[in-house]
Symmetry: C2
Subunit: 387 residues, 2 copies
Amino acid sequence: MFRSFCWPRSISFSRLVLAVGLLSLVGCGAPEATGAGQAVDAADASSSGGTTTGTPKAWAIAIHGGAGVIPKDIDPVQKEAYYAALREALTLGQEALDSGESSLDVVEKVVRKLEDAPQFNAGKGAVFTHDGKHALDAAIMDGSTLGVGAVTGVETVKNPISLARLVMTETRHVLLSGEGAEAFADTMELERVDAAYYFTQGRHDAWQRALAREKEEGEQRLMMDSAADDQASLEDARLGVEGSADWQNEKYGTVGVVALDRAGNLAAGTSTGGLTNKRWGRVGDVPIIGAGTYANDAACAVSGTGIGEQFIRHTVASDIAALVAYGDLSLADAAHKVVHEKLKPGDGGIIAVDPQGNLALVFNTAGMFRGAADADGRFDVAIWEDE
Amino acid sequence: MFRSFCWPRSISFSRLVLAVGLLSLVGCGAPEATGAGQAVDAADASSSGGTTTGTPKAWAIAIHGGAGVIPKDIDPVQKEAYYAALREALTLGQEALDSGESSLDVVEKVVRKLEDAPQFNAGKGAVFTHDGKHALDAAIMDGSTLGVGAVTGVETVKNPISLARLVMTETRHVLLSGEGAEAFADTMELERVDAAYYFTQGRHDAWQRALAREKEEGEQRLMMDSAADDQASLEDARLGVEGSADWQNEKYGTVGVVALDRAGNLAAGTSTGGLTNKRWGRVGDVPIIGAGTYANDAACAVSGTGIGEQFIRHTVASDIAALVAYGDLSLADAAHKVVHEKLKPGDGGIIAVDPQGNLALVFNTAGMFRGAADADGRFDVAIWEDE
């Protein structure tokens, strides 16, 4: 029952080398390798079923690194860094599932990899809160037992997903918050970091811009009925506006992984830094089981990314599972219904896998950082919907 | 949009007088008035349909004050105090719904009444945390808009349900936590209290006993694989053991209200002090939309009480709604399935109402403090299953 989560620091590097080696083997050296025929399910292709039905797969995995307005003219070096981070994480999961590791282990391992990548708003690269701190949320769920662990408001843990897993395995509780979650971490073997670890210049600049806008517009912008920049950028996202210089600034970059293993078990995990400039101890959908994270072997595993409040209101992850379990919909149709009919355009997206290894990667934003792989040789990563 | 939630202190007393007056009108002066023919749905009577089907009701309401092991030989004065508190709250809701108030207003109002009653583990009478504090959680949901507001870890707000409603109406967020929630409360008009307000001798004694047990058994009792008193009392509850001198000590006493109003809209609200001696910033099911609280006019409104972790794992409240919406089950059958087939005996119970005014009050513990009323004259309160 008792596991040590104190990963040797050397693993990250050796895994990296291995991943790079594998990349050449599977022929995914360039993003363009994901041609039309193998395209990752895009925004409105989820109900076509083309890539989401067929014979059962021995294993399958999907990953995401956030959904939102992602300008197509981003710097090529930056773009390649995103693709590389996605491919590296996906390769790690592909290798582990192929060798028979449990979906729960793989979800934790691949989320850690994404947390460590500075491109995404989780772990290193997390956004800044209003007070200039980082407050991280994460959740993990085991579809075979309905075991769950989640944390919110963590400030010193390098990999919040591993702390979430320890909540699941080592306590009777499901969700620990703030200083209490830190105190629990103190009793566990787990790599801790200071605030500087999470720092990235881009997220810092975005926080400074948010503070400046706030100062300009006054305190009332925080209230629902004011015309606020959050609201404005939300509207931009809903309209699919591209090219904003500030596209990275706000709520995008949450990471998540769903997996089916060779034993037929599902798992899901999600990790985030939440909203830039968040305050009032705001908690989003990530640590809320049924909203941003859910797994149940009887239906599917889901991880979401987007406007957390919308995901909570619509219990997005468990609603997709319920439509599969009770509504007699395919995973693709269930995901499409929730993302395109219940959520609003611009709210975000989800990744999901069912016990047959069908994958759904569905979003209603202009883009979603994502990847998908399965035992039948699928391996592709994408950002925009027309890839 | 903007409402003041600073209720005049005099209202409580005048409402009380009104409630007492109404009690004599509806002939519910004694608990024995709830005879067999009008019995509130008991643990295993929910699927009989006897009280949960029929012609639509113009309005309906159910309330709870916690589920668990409640010895039948409790002091008669204490027992009558529970019945009186339940009747008073139910009367308040009955009157308001009959006069056409919205379900959302009624849910807030009646939860406030139950928070103010020292018998229950919410507001006044909340349990003590490990550190000798009180950390309160609450959530409210509007079934007509899917609007939600929730707070966790609140320490100075007299009525956390009203703070939850302000989160819903006055911010873009859904869930605020800890110091952040307090800071938000500072910006609102809302009655604040110091820690002494929540004090009750019984909860204090229970906390002291829990600390003593913990000292005796050592720190490892907090871990999942140890034989711990929480686990022991959970097992007691599952076995339906009665007569424990310590029956009030732990996790029972959460309050909740669900209502259907004359406009056909549903709402749900739940409020709690959580677990006695809780630590690590543990968050239970109450502020988790879909776990302890959920409302959707397309299905039903639900409020739960019991082992919060079990309610989160099983997304109890939204699962009942999904079984109604997609599984084509009646509210009674859906509630029965989740409480008796998915949860384990002793986990707790739920109250629910659907758009036709059908009520379900279902639990798998030895008792649940509860009450139910509707436009057709139903008005009954009960504690044990055979009432």
